[in-house]
Symmetry: C2
Subunit: 118 residues, 2 copies
DNA sequence: GGAATCATTCGACGTCCGTCGAACGTTGTC
DNA sequence: GACAACGTTCGACGGACGTCGAATGATTCC
């Protein structure tokens, strides 16, 4: 039988993707790390193959948040689910947003230089 | 006497601005609306002069979140506080991020076109 | 068929968040 | 000096969030 695991996966339409939800989905260290990994791994990654500092249910929860926010796709193959970024839709809806977030990740995130108080 | 209202206002250094905190600060409807208004009003806006759908303490709270995330400056003049965006610092730290968020705001946020359900 | 694998869902727990009314300290004005 | 204006802080409330262990459903392999 061809695989249908749980309830049918649903995703928001491109035009239903809300900026606030995307920002909220990205505003979490684990999910941000997840998105960066999905960005580097250009194909698609299964949930279990991702090195995450959280338990399996928690990872599943974060993936769900990203999916419902319209950030990632989920494709079922057997008992696995392969996730990938919705680059095109995000770029069409919020041009430059994903790129800037990902670029900020690769750039200095923990390298303070001087100090300009006030 | 020249005004010092509460405890001295503190802000994160440019290099201490964290992406996750900025995203979290922007991932709220009220704060996003606030940032957009600060963007349009190029000078600076006082707290009370902002038409917000929340009470005064709540608005103050949101401004504090934005300030501590490094998104806005706060300048005291008498009994008022004028807020303004930290465009330069945000652009230096996360190039294109603020622009994409603001552009997304002015573009269609509630104008669905077709429907590509999966 | 039975066991192992994969990912989710469920229930629970503690924490953080957004919200408000009331009280407070400053500042400016009469 | 007294009063009004401004913004913050305090305390409290309800809800959402992140986290996990255990249980569940599906699939694959022997």
């Amino acid at each position: 039988m061809v695989g249908v695991m749980g309830p049918e996966l649903t995703f928001p339409d491109r035009d239903d993707i809300r900026l606030v939800e995307v920002l909220h989905a990205l505003a979490d260290p684990v999910r941000l790390q997840l998105v960066r990994l999905l960005d580097e791994t250009d194909g698609a990654v299964a949930c279990g193959q991702i090195p995450l500092p959280v338990s399996k249910p928690t990872a599943s929860h974060h993936l769900k948040v990203l999916r419902e926010a319209g950030v990632v796709w989920a494709r079922e193959v057997g008992t696995r689910r392969y996730y990938s970024l919705r680059r095109d839709d995000l770029e069409a809806r919020f041009p430059g947003l994903l790129d800037s977030v990902l670029a900020a990740g690769t750039a200095g995130e923990g390298a303070p230089t001087a100090g300009t108080r006030s």
